[in-house]
Amino acid sequence: DQQVKQNSPSLSVQEGRISILNCDYTNSMFDYFLWYKKYPAEGPTFLISISSIKDKNEDGRFTVFLNKSAKHLSLHIVPSQPGDSAVYFCASGPGANNLFFGTGTRLTVIP
């Protein structure tokens, strides 16, 4: 049973526009939420995280929003750049040592 879901397998966005990647989780006990970015044939790299006590965390062009009542997490990339093209994994769990990953969303930023 998938505890973290990314329902959009792919997303295409024009360069300079906003990319919005979505993620849903099922366990209300999850306290830690992360986004990873993965290029082909490489391991995922940590992008940004948020804890359950916050509803927004911003790092440069990347902002993660958390809606605990809806069990929904989103990643906004503004402005999108071609180098952002990758697979983005959402992960969640009771802690960073116990994470459940989504199936990923492939983002393509079109120049």
Partner: protein, 113 residues
């Protein structure tokens, strides 16, 4: 700084052959260590995790096994590979305390023919 290594990077093996993938971490002590698999079109599935030498927890039943012979070494093995074992295998580490993220290695792509 901490680094994580995996080898080999790519492996092509026949069905029924054995497997040994190695993961080592540098620059930290007593890390939590993880093996994940990413199968085609699927997310990251946790296979094993370890909180210390000789301590292995298995998340899914399978024909794979893991061992941790040293503090910073994690090995994924199989006695007889199946076609369904093909995938991208990722090792990750996490500090034993604190809310930091898991850090992933470069991965091993395994193709079982």
């Amino acid at each position: 700084s901490q680094t994580i290594h995996q080898w080999p990077a790519t492996l092509v093996q026949p069905v029924g052959s054995p497997l040994s993938l190695e993961c080592t971490v540098e620059g930290t002590s007593n890390p939590n260590l993880y093996w994940y698999r990413q199968a085609a079109g699927r997310g990251l599935q946790l296979l094993f995790y370890s909180v210390g030498i000789g301590q292995i927890s298995s998340e899914v039943p399978q024909n794979l096994s893991a061992s941790r012979p040293q503090d910073r070494q994690f090995i994924l093995s199989s006695k007889k590979l199946l076609l369904s074992d093909s995938g991208f295998y990722l090792c990750a580490w996490h500090p034993p305390a604190g809310q930091e993220t898991q850090y992933f290695g470069p991965g091993t792509r395994l193709l079982v023919l």
